[in-house]
Amino acid sequence: MAAARRMIEPAPFYGELFARERARLPGHGRSELERVREEAFARFVALGLPTQKAEVWKYSPIARFANREMVVAEAAVPRLEDVSAWFGGGPATRRLIFANGHLVPALSHVGGLPEGVRVTGLVRAIEEWPEKVAEALAGCDPECSFTQLNTALARSGAWIEIADGVRLDEPLQLLFVHEGGESAAMTHPRILLRLGRGARLHLIETHAGTGDGHCFVNLVCQMALAPEAELTLDRLELGAAGTTLLSRTLVELAAGARIRQTAVALGGGFLRNETEVRLGGRGGEAILNGLCMPRGEEHADTLVRIHHEAEDCHSDQFFKGVVEDRARAVFAGKIIVHRGAQKTNAYQANDNLLLSDRAEVDSKPELEIYADDVKCSHGATCGDLDEGALFYLRARGLPREVAASLLVYAFANEVIERMADERLRALTRRAVLDRVPGGAALEAEGLL
């Protein structure tokens, strides 16, 4: 009975929507894909939508957003000048650009990649190797209803595969533009990424929200790294007020594989970023950095799960939040050291600046440990700006607002500087300055 209240039944429109949409999905009629989708949808209905009684959704009322009547987003064709502002990387950077979850081939450019690198939209991947796609989707993340919904309804996304030993030096960007419409429109993009033994990739993922309406994005990224592979992932989320973005990243690391992810959430009515990493082989490493700066009525929720399943792995979480107005920042990070994962070294930090009396910070840094020869620790803090530091700056002539903005900027910059891509760092800093009240003055005074 207690379990029942943790999940509620999805609204009836989901059933109608699935019945209507399935014929429009890529690869329709292919039995292996049909079966995976049917099973996933049945699983989604069986699991239901989480309420706040579900522990991982304790602070985030997702059902309020996910259970309102929605339609599937229709394709849109933005102009180049509409999207170029969010370009990361350099001149040789390949990009897949998605508008409302649909790939825009006219703006995307993934040609001329070295041998052993396959980057393509999901539709094309389904055309070319449907069995492989069905296999990757089947049985993925069976306990997460949103992943199941994505599996059932994913209409586009990306297939990225890099062969053993191939290293792609230029970053690859996935750029999503989400346009809010009259009635809330949902999209379910799916990213499937595989890095071969010793392969290396720098991926940039950007989300930009436009328009005043609502949209609901349910993104799932499935990443598998073979031994010694290396993935750098920079993610920037610049949603609009009506953007509800659920992003779930599942990473499996084999022995000696490494991921370094830096995710910055700087806008969006409701942002939920989930990262679940499995360190399945000896010597793996996961470094996750994150920053969120909700303001107004925004809600930014970060969930991290790191599974140390093998010996001798290292993980480090560094997450920060700056919360203004009536906004809310939620952080729930968990390090799980499985039995036998000896010599684990894991650290987790969550620091928050609470800048308004009507804002709220909820932090839940957890450790779950079943091996003894480990070093695991975490720290979490929450407080206002340091009065001493403010005084120091004001004594040197800065108005209070500018001084406060400088301190916030410095606080945020500790995460931003961990982004690997220079252009994305610049974009992010720009967005931070736009968010702090004294940002313009800081720039004008040449204080940065």
Partner: protein, 481 residues
């Protein structure tokens, strides 16, 4: 230092020492729970009508409630109809003086190392002895009465001080607070009651010693402590139970109320029977403890050393309502063999400039699981509130688990909240250092563990600190090598 080691050595050779059973004629209600049983308990205790109704309404609430399942422990479903809710040594009436106590019961406490008489004369600690469902003796009552301090069993308090009981009972832990609190409110049998009047500093430690003796019963005691303006009291709680293959339920409720400038220090050394090495038997210790700092500048401090029980589910909490009030929680939870402990605290900051400090040390050995679960909540009005939390876990062996589940909720910008936690293995270097100086491996482990817990041990009153150190040694026994 050397005395600590000797004490440890003395106690690392024995198993659970308190596992005997006393053959005493007891009156027990048949197993099962319904309104009739509650009426009977209430009638047996000659309670006023309002309390009977209070119990019944709690029972009706309980019927509609669900047993919590969020805690990180596993146990087979409890059959609440198989428990006998009242067990008392048969005696005509409560003994008038200590000499009238059933010699068997007196011997029980002697065997437990807390002889009723000597304790009164030598130790200078006032003790309320609770045997299964009833309080059998309270010492030093008269001396305390001279200062206006009321220290008696809660049954006596209901009879002699109904206004105080009625005013405060359930005011901190309302009957519908949670599943086990509701059950307790319906069937609570006895427990201690303390009232310290305005401006009085209680000159001695007050103590309750809980003993479960009868089989097939549960213990549901209720403790209520009220510290009036400017008063101070230090209260100790100890507990043991016989070794049995069955699991016995102990679902207590403790409520503390501190008014302006008052201070309550509550210390527990919990040593219920933990079950045997195979995880058979042991007490389910499902307890709700909560204090409210209602007055300005009041303070409530919880110190607990948890070594017993098969399963512990316990979160002694502080509601910091009065301005400048202070809440503290110091805890050592040691689990071995198949024990499971899910324990921690809640600090609810409501008043301005309220402060709280949490120090929790978890030690897991054998195949046990130890979880710290805590909440720090800063309400919008708690301007200038401050919290510091430190949780450390020590793992001994590779088959146990140690977990940390803190919740931090901040709704006031001026509040400063800090949390830190670590988990590590018992240091090889420290063990090697001790071993090279001639310590046996077990002594070395006990020494390191005692050092790890020192911050908490220092908070315990002296008599308890010694006992607690011994217990750590006993509980760790067999965890090395």
């Amino acid at each position: 230092m050397s005395s600590t080691i000797e004490t440890l050595k003395e106690h690392t050779t024995g198993e659970y020492k308190y596992g005997f059973m006393t053959a005493v004629d007891e009156e027990t209600t048949p197993p099962g729970l319904d309104e009739e049983v509650i009426r009977r308990i209430s009638a047996r205790k000659e309670e006023p009508e309002w309390l009977t109704e209070w119990r019944l309404s709690a029972y009706r609430r309980w019927l509609s409630m669900e047993e919590p399942d969020w805690q990180k422990v596993t146990y087979p479903p409890i059959d609440y109809q198989a428990i006998s809710y009242f067990a008392a040594p048969r005696q005509k009436e409560r003994p008038k003086s200590l000499d009238d106590i059933d010699p068997e019961i007196r011997r029980t406490y002697e065997k437990l190392g807390i002889p009723i008489r000597e304790q009164e004369i030598l130790a200078g600690v006032a003790v309320d002895y609770v045997f299964d469902s009833v309080s059998v003796a309270t010492t030093f009552k008269n001396k305390l009465a001279e200062l206006g301090i009321i220290f008696c069993s809660i049954s006596e308090a209901v009879r002699d001080h109904p206004d105080l009981v009625r005013k405060y009972l359930g005011s901190v832990v309302p009957p519908g607070d949670n599943f086990f609190a509701a059950l307790n409110s319906a069937v609570f049998s006895d427990g201690s009651f303390v009232y310290v009047p305005k401006g009085v500093r209680c000159p001695m430690e007050l103590s309750t010693y809980f003993r479960i003796n009868a089989a097939g019963t549960g213990q549901f005691e209720r403790t209520l402590i009220i510290a009036d303006e400017g008063s101070y009291v230090s209260y100790l709680e100890g507990c043991t139970a016989p070794m049995r293959d069955e699991n016995q339920l102990h679902a207590a409720v403790v409520e503390l109320i501190a008014l302006d400038d008052a201070e309550i220090k509550y210390s527990t050394v919990q040593n219920w029977y933990p079950g045997d090495k195979e995880g058979k038997g042991g007490i389910y210790n499902f307890v709700t403890k909560r204090g409210i700092c209602r007055g300005r500048r009041s303070k409530i401090s919880w110190t607990q050393v948890e070594t017993g029980s098969a399963i512990t589910w316990k979160y002694p909490s502080c509601i910091l309502q009065g301005e400048d009030s202070v809440g503290e929680f110091y805890s050592v939870a040691l689990t071995n063999n198949f024990q499971q402990a899910d324990t921690g605290t809640k600090m609810i900051h409501i008043g301005r400039r309220t402060r709280s400090r949490i120090v929790a040390k978890g030690i897991a050995a054998g195949r046990s699981d130890s979880t710290y679960r805590g909440l720090v909540r800063i309400m919008p009005g708690a301007t200038g509130a401050r919290n510091h939390t430190q949780c450390d876990s020590l793992l001994i062996g590779d088959r146990c688990g140690a977990h940390t589940v803190p919740y931090i909720e901040v709704k006031n910008r001026s509040a400063k909240v800090e949390h830190e936690a670590t988990t590590s293995k018992i240091s090889e270097d420290q063990l090697f250092y001790c071993r090279s100086r001639g310590f046996s491996e077990e002594d070395a482990v006990a020494l390191v563990v005692n050092g790890f817990c020192r911050e908490v041990m220092e908070e315990l009153p002296m008599e308890f600190a010694v006992e607690a150190r011994k217990l750590l040694g006993i509980s760790l026994e067999g965890s090395v090598g």
